[in-house]
């Protein structure tokens, strides 16, 4: 199982029921395939940075899921088929999160070591560089 974020943009004129229907569809694809939906976030309507399908605005929706690659593939296929979806992106997040955890644990360890020996909070050499 891997963690992914699927973000897609809906046509700005999509009615609310339609939005919920699409969300339900995607959710069912994920859960029926054995994945888990951790979060569905409606990020609301925002201005697009460039025109997509002659639209200047779009309704952003974010799915945070943990699933297999096959499920993601199926989700993307579905999104491509739905007309209201004007753009989508899938980002794998677990690797990044793992790296972040590693850095954080390392930093904590270092802080603990510094704190016991000198009693001063760890200050990076950046402070010196700024002077």
């Amino acid at each position: 199982m891997r963690n992914y974020e699927i973000m897609f943009i809906l046509h700005p004129n999509t009615p609310d029921e339609e939005t919920d229907k699409i969300n339900g569809q995607i959710e069912s694809v994920i859960t029926s395939g054995g994945g888990k939906v951790e979060k569905i976030e409606k990020m609301g309507k925002r201005r697009l940075a460039y025109d997509v399908g002659k639209q200047r605005e779009g309704f952003y929706i974010l799915f945070v899921i943990s699933a297999n690659g096959d499920i993601v593939k199926e989700c993307e296929r579905r999104l491509r088929v739905i007309d209201a979806v004007i753009k989508y992106i899938t980002v794998r997040t677990d690797e990044e999160v793992r790296r972040f955890e590693k850095i954080r644990s390392y930093r904590q360890k270092r802080a603990a070591r510094r704190g016991s020996s000198a009693g001063a909070p760890p200050q990076p050499s950046i402070e010196e560089a700024m002077q």
Binding site: M7, A49, Y50, K87, I103, I126
Partner: protein, 84 residues
Amino acid sequence: MRSAKEKRPAGQKQYYRRKKVCKFCVERIDTINYKDVKLLAQFVPERAKIMPRRISGVCSHHQRLLNDAIKKARNIALLPFATE
């Protein structure tokens, strides 16, 4: 500042350039998320090009993360590819 000036032998440039530091290192930002448009926009000037490291002072590690994040954000229309 003054001491740095005085140390220089004659004939060298007299101005002191403040050393640039990586914003992400200073603020301890480990992950750069593509959804954080406010942060990314600081490194995307008017023409929507990615700001080079020599100007922003971002370290190579964070510049790479920043690059990835900006490119992802462009893909989902959070940031522009180019502006006229």
